[in-house]
Protein backbone atom coordinates (compact mmCIF):
# COMPACT_ATOMS: atom_id res chain seq x y z
CA UNK A 1 0.00 0.00 0.00
CA UNK A 2 2.77 2.41 0.83
CA UNK A 3 5.21 1.24 -1.78
CA UNK A 4 5.44 4.24 -4.05
CA UNK A 5 5.85 6.89 -1.36
CA UNK A 6 8.86 5.29 0.30
CA UNK A 7 10.91 4.00 -2.56
CA UNK A 8 12.51 7.16 -3.92
CA UNK A 9 15.94 6.61 -2.42
CA UNK A 10 18.00 4.34 -0.27
CA UNK A 11 17.75 6.46 2.86
CA UNK A 12 14.01 6.11 3.43
CA UNK A 13 12.40 3.43 5.54
CA UNK A 14 8.84 2.37 4.88
CA UNK A 15 6.31 1.89 7.68
CA UNK A 16 6.77 -1.87 7.46
CA UNK A 17 10.45 -1.52 8.34
CA UNK A 18 11.88 -2.16 4.90
CA UNK A 19 14.11 -0.05 2.69
CA UNK A 20 12.41 -0.55 -0.63
CA UNK A 21 15.35 0.36 -2.84
CA UNK A 22 17.29 -2.55 -1.38
CA UNK A 23 14.31 -4.85 -1.95
CA UNK A 24 14.16 -3.68 -5.56
CA UNK A 25 17.89 -4.32 -5.93
CA UNK A 26 17.34 -7.89 -4.72
CA UNK A 27 14.60 -8.13 -7.32
CA UNK A 28 17.16 -7.27 -9.99
CA UNK A 29 19.14 -10.32 -8.88
CA UNK A 30 16.03 -12.48 -9.09
CA UNK A 31 15.50 -11.35 -12.68
CA UNK A 32 19.01 -12.24 -13.79
CA UNK A 33 19.86 -15.51 -15.52
CA UNK A 34 20.37 -18.37 -13.12
CA UNK A 35 23.61 -19.33 -11.42
CA UNK A 36 24.09 -22.13 -8.96
CA UNK A 37 26.86 -23.55 -6.83
CA UNK A 38 27.42 -26.67 -4.77
CA UNK A 39 30.30 -27.99 -2.73
CA UNK A 40 31.80 -31.18 -1.39
CA UNK A 41 34.57 -31.52 1.16
CA UNK A 42 37.17 -31.14 -1.56
CA UNK A 43 35.66 -29.19 -4.46
CA UNK A 44 33.23 -26.40 -5.29
CA UNK A 45 31.35 -26.40 -8.60
CA UNK A 46 29.73 -23.27 -10.06
CA UNK A 47 27.28 -23.59 -12.94
CA UNK A 48 25.57 -20.76 -14.77
CA UNK A 49 23.20 -20.19 -17.61
CA UNK A 50 24.23 -17.41 -19.96
CA UNK A 51 22.09 -15.29 -22.20
CA UNK A 52 22.91 -13.56 -25.43
CA UNK A 53 21.29 -10.17 -25.93
CA UNK A 54 21.01 -10.77 -29.64
CA UNK A 55 21.07 -13.76 -31.99
CA UNK A 56 24.26 -12.42 -33.50
CA UNK A 57 26.09 -11.67 -30.25
CA UNK A 58 28.15 -13.77 -27.87
CA UNK A 59 26.85 -15.01 -24.54
CA UNK A 60 27.57 -12.98 -21.41
CA UNK A 61 30.24 -14.72 -19.38
CA UNK A 62 29.10 -15.01 -15.77
CA UNK A 63 31.77 -17.09 -14.09
CA UNK A 64 34.97 -15.29 -13.19
CA UNK A 65 38.23 -16.29 -11.58
CA UNK A 66 39.10 -14.10 -8.63
CA UNK A 67 42.25 -15.92 -7.59
CA UNK A 68 43.65 -19.41 -8.05
CA UNK A 69 41.60 -20.60 -5.11
CA UNK A 70 38.40 -18.53 -5.56
CA UNK A 71 35.88 -18.31 -8.38
CA UNK A 72 32.55 -16.47 -8.58
CA UNK A 73 29.30 -16.93 -10.48
CA UNK A 74 26.92 -13.99 -10.71
CA UNK A 75 23.30 -13.18 -11.33
CA UNK A 76 22.05 -9.69 -12.04
CA UNK A 77 23.68 -6.62 -13.51
CA UNK A 78 26.85 -7.77 -15.21
CA UNK A 79 28.52 -4.36 -15.04
CA UNK A 80 28.14 -4.21 -11.25
CA UNK A 81 29.48 -7.75 -11.10
CA UNK A 82 32.60 -6.79 -13.01
CA UNK A 83 33.21 -3.90 -10.64
CA UNK A 84 32.96 -6.15 -7.60
CA UNK A 85 35.07 -8.81 -9.29
CA UNK A 86 37.80 -6.26 -9.92
CA UNK A 87 37.65 -5.25 -6.25
CA UNK A 88 37.88 -8.87 -5.12
CA UNK A 89 40.83 -9.53 -7.42
CA UNK A 90 42.64 -6.48 -6.10
CA UNK A 91 42.08 -7.52 -2.50
CA UNK A 92 43.44 -10.98 -3.23
CA UNK A 93 46.50 -9.55 -4.94
CA UNK A 94 47.18 -7.16 -2.05
CA UNK A 95 46.96 -10.05 0.37
CA UNK A 96 49.49 -12.00 -1.71
CA UNK A 97 51.79 -9.00 -1.81
CA UNK A 98 51.76 -8.45 1.93
CA UNK A 99 51.46 -12.00 3.30
CA UNK A 100 52.59 -14.24 0.41
CA UNK A 101 49.56 -16.45 0.99
CA UNK A 102 45.96 -16.95 -0.13
CA UNK A 103 43.18 -14.60 0.95
CA UNK A 104 40.75 -16.45 3.24
CA UNK A 105 37.42 -16.65 1.45
CA UNK A 106 35.10 -15.74 4.31
CA UNK A 107 37.02 -12.52 4.88
CA UNK A 108 36.96 -11.59 1.21
CA UNK A 109 33.20 -12.05 1.13
CA UNK A 110 32.92 -9.98 4.33
CA UNK A 111 34.78 -7.18 2.57
CA UNK A 112 32.36 -7.36 -0.37
CA UNK A 113 29.48 -7.27 2.09
CA UNK A 114 30.89 -4.18 3.75
CA UNK A 115 31.36 -2.46 0.40
CA UNK A 116 27.81 -3.34 -0.65
CA UNK A 117 26.38 -2.06 2.63
CA UNK A 118 28.20 1.21 2.20
CA UNK A 119 26.33 1.76 -1.04
CA UNK A 120 23.02 1.50 0.80
CA UNK A 121 23.85 4.29 3.19
CA UNK A 122 24.01 7.31 0.99
CA UNK A 123 21.50 9.51 -0.68
CA UNK A 124 22.19 9.54 -4.39
CA UNK A 125 23.97 6.19 -4.39
CA UNK A 126 22.33 2.98 -5.45
CA UNK A 127 23.00 -0.52 -4.16
CA UNK A 128 24.83 -3.04 -6.32
CA UNK A 129 22.34 -4.97 -8.44
CA UNK A 130 24.13 -8.29 -8.44
CA UNK A 131 24.19 -11.45 -6.37
CA UNK A 132 27.51 -13.26 -6.20
CA UNK A 133 28.05 -16.93 -5.50
CA UNK A 134 31.66 -17.12 -4.34
CA UNK A 135 33.21 -20.56 -4.09
CA UNK A 136 36.69 -21.51 -3.10
CA UNK A 137 39.14 -23.59 -1.12
CA UNK A 138 41.40 -22.18 1.58
CA UNK A 139 43.18 -23.50 4.66
CA UNK A 140 39.82 -23.98 6.41
CA UNK A 141 38.31 -26.14 3.65
CA UNK A 142 35.75 -25.53 0.91
CA UNK A 143 33.35 -22.64 1.12
CA UNK A 144 30.37 -21.42 -0.89
CA UNK A 145 29.01 -17.96 -0.10
CA UNK A 146 26.16 -15.88 -1.51
CA UNK A 147 26.30 -12.10 -1.32
CA UNK A 148 23.24 -9.89 -1.72
CA UNK A 149 22.85 -6.24 -2.72
CA UNK A 150 21.91 -5.43 0.86
CA UNK A 151 25.41 -6.32 2.05
CA UNK A 152 24.33 -9.59 3.62
CA UNK A 153 26.23 -12.76 2.94
CA UNK A 154 25.45 -16.36 3.82
CA UNK A 155 27.34 -19.60 3.58
CA UNK A 156 25.74 -22.60 1.85
CA UNK A 157 26.21 -26.25 1.04
CA UNK A 158 24.48 -25.51 -2.27
CA UNK A 159 22.52 -22.54 -3.63
CA UNK A 160 20.87 -21.28 -6.79
CA UNK A 161 20.12 -17.62 -7.54
CA UNK A 162 18.46 -15.84 -10.44
CA UNK A 163 15.28 -16.34 -12.41
CA UNK A 164 13.52 -19.71 -12.24
CA UNK A 165 16.04 -20.89 -9.65
CA UNK A 166 13.38 -22.44 -7.40
CA UNK A 167 13.39 -25.77 -9.25
CA UNK A 168 17.15 -25.96 -9.04
CA UNK A 169 17.00 -25.14 -5.34
CA UNK A 170 14.45 -27.89 -4.78
CA UNK A 171 16.70 -30.39 -6.57
CA UNK A 172 19.68 -29.29 -4.49
CA UNK A 173 17.70 -29.47 -1.25
CA UNK A 174 16.73 -33.05 -2.04
CA UNK A 175 20.28 -34.14 -2.77
CA UNK A 176 22.66 -31.95 -0.78
CA UNK A 177 23.24 -34.40 2.03
CA UNK A 178 25.23 -36.66 -0.25
CA UNK A 179 27.44 -33.89 -1.65
CA UNK A 180 30.03 -33.85 1.14
CA UNK A 181 31.76 -37.09 0.16
CA UNK A 182 31.00 -36.92 -3.56
CA UNK A 183 33.67 -37.11 -6.23
CA UNK A 184 34.17 -34.19 -8.58
CA UNK A 185 32.47 -35.98 -11.49
CA UNK A 186 29.42 -36.73 -9.38
CA UNK A 187 29.29 -33.15 -8.14
CA UNK A 188 29.37 -31.77 -11.68
CA UNK A 189 26.58 -34.18 -12.65
CA UNK A 190 24.44 -32.90 -9.80
CA UNK A 191 25.14 -29.32 -10.86
CA UNK A 192 24.09 -30.01 -14.44
CA UNK A 193 20.97 -31.85 -13.25
CA UNK A 194 20.01 -28.90 -11.06
CA UNK A 195 20.51 -26.63 -14.06
CA UNK A 196 18.30 -28.84 -16.21
CA UNK A 197 15.61 -28.83 -13.52
CA UNK A 198 15.32 -25.07 -13.90
CA UNK A 199 15.73 -24.82 -17.66
CA UNK A 200 13.03 -27.09 -19.03
CA UNK A 201 12.18 -24.89 -22.03
CA UNK A 202 15.69 -23.74 -22.89
CA UNK A 203 18.02 -25.52 -25.30
CA UNK A 204 21.10 -26.15 -23.22
CA UNK A 205 24.41 -26.32 -25.04
CA UNK A 206 28.04 -25.50 -24.38
CA UNK A 207 27.29 -22.03 -25.75
CA UNK A 208 24.97 -20.95 -22.98
CA UNK A 209 26.18 -23.11 -20.07
CA UNK A 210 29.33 -22.36 -18.15
CA UNK A 211 30.92 -24.47 -15.40
CA UNK A 212 33.71 -23.39 -13.05
CA UNK A 213 35.54 -25.70 -10.64
CA UNK A 214 37.91 -25.01 -7.75
CA UNK A 215 39.09 -27.13 -4.87
CA UNK A 216 41.84 -28.90 -3.01
CA UNK A 217 44.96 -29.08 -5.19
CA UNK A 218 42.74 -27.75 -7.98
CA UNK A 219 43.32 -24.17 -9.05
CA UNK A 220 40.23 -22.55 -10.51
CA UNK A 221 39.42 -23.66 -14.05
CA UNK A 222 36.41 -23.71 -16.37
CA UNK A 223 35.21 -26.77 -18.22
CA UNK A 224 35.86 -26.77 -21.95
CA UNK A 225 32.93 -26.79 -24.36
CA UNK A 226 33.54 -30.48 -25.21
CA UNK A 227 33.30 -31.45 -21.57
CA UNK A 228 30.15 -29.39 -21.07
CA UNK A 229 28.54 -31.00 -24.11
CA UNK A 230 29.47 -34.42 -22.76
CA UNK A 231 27.96 -33.70 -19.33
CA UNK A 232 24.81 -32.24 -20.85
CA UNK A 233 24.20 -35.28 -23.01
CA UNK A 234 25.13 -37.83 -20.35
CA UNK A 235 22.83 -36.54 -17.65
CA UNK A 236 19.24 -37.74 -17.75
CA UNK A 237 16.48 -35.20 -18.16
CA UNK A 238 15.32 -34.24 -14.71
CA UNK A 239 11.61 -34.56 -14.08
CA UNK A 240 10.45 -32.12 -11.42
CA UNK A 241 7.44 -33.49 -9.58
CA UNK A 242 5.07 -31.12 -7.84
CA UNK A 243 4.94 -32.14 -4.21
Amino acid sequence: MFRNQYDMDCVTWNPKGKILQIEYAKEAVKQGMMSLGLKSNTHVVLVSLMRNPDELSSHQEKIFEVDEHIGIAIAGLLADARNLCKYMRNECLSYWYVHDSQHPIARLVAKVGEKSQHKTCGDGKRPYGVGILAGGYDSSGTHLFETLPSGEYFEYYAMAIGSRSQSAKTYLEKNYESFAEDSLESLIKHGISALKASSQEIDLSSENVSVGIVGKDTPFYKLSSEEITRHLSEGADVEMQDD
Binding site: H99, R107, S139
Partner: protein, 240 residues
Amino acid sequence: MLDPTPKTAKDHPEISGGSTIGIKYDKGVLLAADTHLMYAGCYWYKDAQRIHKVADNCVIASSGDYADLQMLLKKLKDKNDYDIIAEDGHQHYEPKDYCKWLANVHFNKRMRVDPYYNSHIVAGVDSKSGDKFLGTVDVHGNNFEGNYVLTGIANYFCNAILDGNVTDDLTLEGARELMTKCFTVLYYKDKSQGDKIQYVTIDTDSNVNFEDPVTLESKWDYHFTKHLTNDHTRDVRFKN
Protein backbone atom coordinates in the same frame (compact mmCIF):
# COMPACT_ATOMS: atom_id res chain seq x y z
CA MET B 1 55.34 21.57 -4.41
CA LEU B 2 58.28 19.63 -3.02
CA ASP B 3 59.25 20.60 0.50
CA PRO B 4 62.75 22.21 0.22
CA THR B 5 63.79 21.57 3.83
CA PRO B 6 66.10 18.58 4.18
CA LYS B 7 64.44 15.44 5.45
CA THR B 8 65.61 14.68 8.96
CA ALA B 9 65.14 11.17 10.14
CA LYS B 10 67.13 9.38 12.78
CA ASP B 11 70.10 7.52 11.42
CA HIS B 12 70.79 5.29 14.42
CA PRO B 13 68.83 3.35 17.01
CA GLU B 14 68.55 4.89 20.49
CA ILE B 15 67.91 2.43 23.30
CA SER B 16 68.68 -0.83 21.61
CA GLY B 17 69.11 -4.50 22.23
CA GLY B 18 71.94 -6.76 21.17
CA SER B 19 71.78 -9.85 19.01
CA THR B 20 69.23 -12.64 19.01
CA ILE B 21 69.49 -16.20 17.76
CA GLY B 22 66.92 -18.77 16.64
CA ILE B 23 67.55 -22.48 16.03
CA LYS B 24 65.21 -25.17 14.73
CA TYR B 25 65.39 -28.47 16.59
CA ASP B 26 63.64 -31.74 15.87
CA LYS B 27 60.37 -30.93 17.64
CA GLY B 28 60.21 -27.16 17.40
CA VAL B 29 62.06 -23.88 17.44
CA LEU B 30 64.28 -22.38 20.14
CA LEU B 31 64.80 -18.63 20.44
CA ALA B 32 67.12 -16.78 22.78
CA ALA B 33 67.93 -13.16 23.50
CA ASP B 34 69.58 -11.35 26.37
CA THR B 35 67.67 -8.98 28.60
CA HIS B 36 69.97 -5.97 28.44
CA LEU B 37 69.24 -2.74 26.58
CA MET B 38 72.03 -0.33 25.77
CA TYR B 39 72.02 3.41 25.45
CA ALA B 40 75.05 4.86 23.70
CA GLY B 41 77.39 2.20 24.96
CA CYS B 42 76.10 1.92 28.54
CA TYR B 43 73.84 -0.74 30.01
CA TRP B 44 70.53 1.01 30.44
CA TYR B 45 67.83 -1.54 31.30
CA LYS B 46 68.84 -4.90 32.63
CA ASP B 47 65.51 -6.73 32.63
CA ALA B 48 63.91 -5.94 29.32
CA GLN B 49 61.98 -8.64 27.48
CA ARG B 50 63.08 -8.81 23.87
CA ILE B 51 61.10 -11.88 22.86
CA HIS B 52 57.33 -11.48 22.58
CA LYS B 53 54.39 -13.65 21.71
CA VAL B 54 52.41 -12.35 18.76
CA ALA B 55 49.83 -15.08 18.32
CA ASP B 56 49.16 -18.52 19.73
CA ASN B 57 51.60 -20.07 17.31
CA CYS B 58 54.01 -17.21 16.59
CA VAL B 59 56.82 -15.59 18.56
CA ILE B 60 59.05 -12.67 17.60
CA ALA B 61 62.52 -11.79 18.93
CA SER B 62 64.04 -8.43 18.04
CA SER B 63 67.34 -6.66 18.22
CA GLY B 64 67.76 -2.96 17.64
CA ASP B 65 65.74 0.04 18.71
CA TYR B 66 63.35 -0.86 21.51
CA ALA B 67 60.88 1.95 20.92
CA ASP B 68 60.44 0.88 17.31
CA LEU B 69 59.89 -2.66 18.55
CA GLN B 70 57.16 -1.52 20.92
CA MET B 71 55.42 0.30 18.07
CA LEU B 72 55.64 -2.77 15.84
CA LEU B 73 54.32 -4.99 18.63
CA LYS B 74 51.24 -2.75 18.87
CA LYS B 75 50.67 -3.18 15.14
CA LEU B 76 51.22 -6.91 15.34
CA LYS B 77 48.77 -7.13 18.21
CA ASP B 78 46.20 -5.26 16.10
CA LYS B 79 46.80 -7.75 13.34
CA ASN B 80 46.31 -10.68 15.66
CA ASP B 81 43.17 -9.07 17.11
CA TYR B 82 41.74 -8.66 13.61
CA ASP B 83 42.44 -12.32 12.97
CA ILE B 84 40.45 -13.25 16.06
CA ILE B 85 37.65 -10.71 15.63
CA ALA B 86 36.98 -11.74 12.02
CA GLU B 87 35.08 -14.57 13.71
CA ASP B 88 34.87 -16.80 10.71
CA GLY B 89 35.73 -19.71 12.93
CA HIS B 90 39.38 -19.89 12.02
CA GLN B 91 42.55 -17.96 12.64
CA HIS B 92 44.16 -17.67 9.26
CA TYR B 93 47.42 -15.83 9.95
CA GLU B 94 50.36 -18.19 10.18
CA PRO B 95 53.89 -17.25 11.31
CA LYS B 96 54.87 -16.97 7.67
CA ASP B 97 52.15 -14.35 7.11
CA TYR B 98 53.39 -12.27 10.04
CA CYS B 99 56.98 -12.56 8.79
CA LYS B 100 56.12 -11.42 5.26
CA TRP B 101 54.01 -8.59 6.61
CA LEU B 102 56.92 -7.41 8.79
CA ALA B 103 59.30 -7.60 5.85
CA ASN B 104 56.95 -5.46 3.76
CA VAL B 105 56.57 -2.92 6.58
CA HIS B 106 60.33 -2.63 6.98
CA PHE B 107 60.90 -2.32 3.26
CA ASN B 108 58.25 0.36 2.97
CA LYS B 109 59.78 2.41 5.78
CA ARG B 110 63.27 1.98 4.35
CA MET B 111 62.11 3.26 0.97
CA ARG B 112 60.88 6.39 2.72
CA VAL B 113 64.40 6.73 4.22
CA ASP B 114 62.96 6.47 7.73
CA PRO B 115 63.47 2.89 8.79
CA TYR B 116 62.48 0.98 11.86
CA TYR B 117 65.89 0.17 13.34
CA ASN B 118 65.19 -3.45 14.13
CA SER B 119 66.17 -6.87 13.01
CA HIS B 120 63.61 -9.50 13.89
CA ILE B 121 63.39 -13.22 14.17
CA VAL B 122 59.89 -14.58 13.54
CA ALA B 123 59.39 -18.13 14.72
CA GLY B 124 56.45 -20.43 15.00
CA VAL B 125 54.63 -23.51 13.92
CA ASP B 126 52.07 -23.65 11.11
CA SER B 127 48.78 -24.53 12.76
CA LYS B 128 47.50 -26.56 9.80
CA SER B 129 50.52 -28.52 8.61
CA GLY B 130 52.66 -28.56 11.76
CA ASP B 131 55.70 -27.28 9.85
CA LYS B 132 58.22 -25.28 11.85
CA PHE B 133 58.84 -21.76 10.62
CA LEU B 134 61.92 -19.65 11.35
CA GLY B 135 62.49 -16.41 9.46
CA THR B 136 64.39 -13.20 9.85
CA VAL B 137 63.64 -9.63 8.77
CA ASP B 138 66.29 -6.95 8.91
CA VAL B 139 66.21 -3.16 8.91
CA HIS B 140 66.24 -2.99 5.10
CA GLY B 141 63.39 -5.43 4.67
CA ASN B 142 65.52 -8.43 3.73
CA ASN B 143 63.62 -11.59 4.56
CA PHE B 144 65.26 -14.99 4.90
CA GLU B 145 64.24 -18.34 6.32
CA GLY B 146 66.50 -21.10 7.50
CA ASN B 147 67.30 -23.76 10.06
CA TYR B 148 69.03 -21.17 12.19
CA VAL B 149 68.89 -17.38 12.01
CA LEU B 150 70.91 -14.66 13.68
CA THR B 151 70.45 -10.95 14.05
CA GLY B 152 72.95 -8.27 14.86
CA ILE B 153 76.57 -8.97 15.58
CA ALA B 154 75.85 -12.68 16.09
CA ASN B 155 75.97 -12.91 12.29
CA TYR B 156 79.70 -12.34 12.51
CA PHE B 157 80.53 -14.45 15.55
CA CYS B 158 78.13 -17.34 15.60
CA ASN B 159 77.83 -18.58 12.03
CA ALA B 160 80.98 -20.62 12.53
CA ILE B 161 79.51 -22.28 15.63
CA LEU B 162 76.12 -23.09 14.15
CA ASP B 163 76.89 -23.89 10.55
CA GLY B 164 76.72 -27.65 9.99
CA ASN B 165 75.61 -28.36 13.56
CA VAL B 166 71.95 -27.52 13.11
CA THR B 167 70.61 -30.73 11.59
CA ASP B 168 67.11 -32.17 11.35
CA ASP B 169 67.67 -34.48 14.32
CA LEU B 170 69.07 -31.88 16.69
CA THR B 171 67.45 -32.30 20.11
CA LEU B 172 66.35 -29.49 22.40
CA GLU B 173 69.32 -30.12 24.70
CA GLY B 174 71.68 -30.00 21.75
CA ALA B 175 70.11 -26.74 20.61
CA ARG B 176 70.46 -25.28 24.10
CA GLU B 177 74.14 -26.26 24.19
CA LEU B 178 74.75 -24.52 20.89
CA MET B 179 72.91 -21.43 22.13
CA THR B 180 74.94 -21.31 25.33
CA LYS B 181 78.15 -21.55 23.35
CA CYS B 182 77.05 -18.77 21.03
CA PHE B 183 75.97 -16.43 23.78
CA THR B 184 79.11 -17.03 25.80
CA VAL B 185 81.20 -16.04 22.81
CA LEU B 186 79.01 -13.01 22.27
CA TYR B 187 79.19 -11.96 25.91
CA TYR B 188 82.99 -12.08 25.83
CA LYS B 189 83.37 -10.31 22.52
CA ASP B 190 80.45 -7.90 22.08
CA LYS B 191 80.18 -4.90 24.39
CA SER B 192 76.44 -4.56 23.84
CA GLN B 193 75.65 -8.10 24.95
CA GLY B 194 74.57 -8.95 28.49
CA ASP B 195 74.87 -12.20 30.41
CA LYS B 196 71.22 -12.81 31.30
CA ILE B 197 69.65 -14.87 28.54
CA GLN B 198 65.98 -15.67 28.07
CA TYR B 199 65.09 -18.87 26.19
CA VAL B 200 61.75 -19.42 24.49
CA THR B 201 60.64 -22.67 22.88
CA ILE B 202 57.75 -23.37 20.55
CA ASP B 203 57.12 -27.00 19.82
CA THR B 204 55.15 -28.62 17.03
CA ASP B 205 52.06 -28.86 19.27
CA SER B 206 52.09 -25.06 19.37
CA ASN B 207 53.07 -24.88 23.06
CA VAL B 208 54.93 -21.65 23.64
CA ASN B 209 57.16 -21.71 26.71
CA PHE B 210 58.78 -18.52 27.99
CA GLU B 211 61.51 -19.38 30.48
CA ASP B 212 62.92 -17.13 33.18
CA PRO B 213 66.23 -15.53 32.24
CA VAL B 214 69.37 -17.45 33.26
CA THR B 215 72.77 -15.93 33.87
CA LEU B 216 75.64 -17.19 31.75
CA GLU B 217 78.72 -18.52 33.37
CA SER B 218 81.76 -16.48 32.50
CA LYS B 219 85.28 -16.17 33.82
CA TRP B 220 86.80 -12.79 34.41
CA ASP B 221 89.36 -13.37 37.18
CA TYR B 222 92.33 -13.94 34.92
CA HIS B 223 95.80 -13.13 36.14
CA PHE B 224 96.04 -10.25 33.72
CA THR B 225 92.82 -8.59 34.83
CA LYS B 226 93.64 -9.12 38.49
CA HIS B 227 97.31 -8.23 38.63
CA LEU B 228 98.64 -6.49 35.58
CA THR B 229 96.09 -3.76 35.33
CA ASN B 230 95.61 -0.69 37.46
CA ASP B 231 95.96 -2.19 40.91
CA HIS B 232 94.88 0.79 42.92
CA THR B 233 91.47 0.72 41.29
CA ARG B 234 91.05 -3.00 41.76
CA ASP B 235 88.77 -2.76 44.78
CA VAL B 236 86.57 -0.32 42.97
CA ARG B 237 86.38 -2.41 39.86
CA PHE B 238 85.68 -5.89 41.30
CA LYS B 239 83.05 -6.24 43.97
CA ASN B 240 84.62 -9.22 45.71
